[in-house]
Subunit: 231 residues, 2 copies
DNA sequence: CGCCGCCTTGACCACCATCAAGTGGAGTGG
DNA sequence: CCACTCCACTTGATGGTGGTCAAGGCGGCG
């Protein structure tokens, strides 16, 4: 995006508000309308089952948009909740439509963001369906590492991940107890350690191999990748 | 879409070609470029694991587009293969860009289609991660029933589904052997039967309850839903 | 006929869920 | 300052869902 476009987009943001930890940002039942951007903190998309269990569909980090497209779909199909405390900002549908009409590149960037989300969702399906629990967790950690690094939120091979072991389990579809055992295995293999909501990768290359992680699906090398996180 | 737009879109299709059963339409390694529409037959998106196992990400039916957005992403992250014999038609990126610029509604419709795909992908994650195998299969059958019904490819409560039991297993992430047992259970519960690539639903309501199926995620009631299948 | 792919069935076993109990730190109130 | 609670994490025991292996049946096709 050129300067002008970036400014126009920034101007479209309403005032930002703070959402406390572990609270809903948008609920499935909420009426569509208005798009929320996550400016600071971490959040998750999730869906509930009748049994009360839930599946975390993706982890959102600063720069991610909550609802690209709900306006078009006319109904939500999932909820979004914060992990830690977050700062979010709302953009009205109307101003987004205006922006898109005026700046095709803004539209392209938003579209690009949706497509990357979709790509990540597909990879999660592999993770949940095909990989063994320890590998799936390794894969998740790799993903978070690269995404957070892209927005400058890593320190060397370490980064903050505001999830409990229970939430990790909801992301890879295993029980809390098993998450704990998998973490111990990863630690024992000297791949990574996780404590106090902080991940420290001990051997990135081995971790990637173990999790069968190939980063192309994140599309970090695309020409748009530098754009959206800058939001 | 108005008549004019529909005609313009139809005109953009190159000549259609026939692809035999169980062949790749686009491979992950293929260079991006050109969008393929599925006109007849059924196909699947899928991704391979190093072990050779694969996960089916979604089932494609007539009217679905293969690659909305690869042009933007600049790299594919999955492959698409036919199930039975298919008829596909190619649209060049260039003519799609032209069309989108000229007819905003076409662009909106394509965007809508991507969003629905994403919604379906999210629901599959629930299916694979949280539901027991028999319920997950029930859910998949419900989804296919409603999607096929929307394009007029059902006969009462029965429809063709060109998948083997092995492929069903790759879709819900269970083994072929277990698929077989689940099908027997569904049959024993008098919910549905599947033979010769044909699904016959015996009790739709009970099947939906059993699979915890709620059809909102398919967004069939959206004002765009009548448009895209008409492609 | 014989091969091959798909379905079917049985036996066995592993991954992971569930249950249960216990640890330890953070926050609260007496 | 010390109970007390609460929550996340930890660990052990047990069992079930579903994987793997192996063999056999059945239909289609060269």
């Amino acid at each position: 995006l050129e300067d002008e476009e970036a400014r126009a987009l920034a101007a479209a943001f309403g005032h930002s508000r703070i959402v406390e930890a572990r609270r809903a940002i948008v609920r499935e039942e909420d009426p569509p309308g208005g798009i929320v951007f996550l400016l600071e903190g971490q959040a998750v998309r999730h869906k509930f089952l009748e049994s009360g269990r839930r599946q975390i569909l993706s982890v959102m980090i600063p720069g991610d948009a909550c609802d690209l497209g709900v306006a078009l779909l006319e109904a939500r199909d999932h909820s979004i909740s914060t992990l830690g405390e977050c700062v979010v900002s709302q953009v009205t549908d109307a101003s987004l439509v205006q922006l898109s009409a005026r700046y095709p590149k803004v539209r392209a960037a938003l579209r690009w963001a949706t497509l990357v989300e979709e790509s990540i969702a597909r990879e999660w399906l592999l993770n949940v369906g095909q990989r063994q629990a320890p590998s799936a967790m390794a894969h998740l950690f790799c993903e978070m590492y690269y995404r957070l690094r892209a927005i400058g939120q890593t320190q060397d091979l370490s980064f903050e991940l505001a999830m409990t072991q229970g939430e990790l389990g909801e992301a890879v579809a295993i029980s809390t107890v098993h998450v704990n055992r998998c973490l111990q295995e990863l630690r024992a293999r000297k791949l990574l350690s996780f404590a106090d909501k902080r991940v420290t990768i001990l051997d990135l290359q081995k971790l990637e191999v173990f999790g069968e992680f190939v980063r192309t699906y994140l599309h970090l090398e695309s020409r748009y990748s530098a754009v959206v996180p800058a939001l």
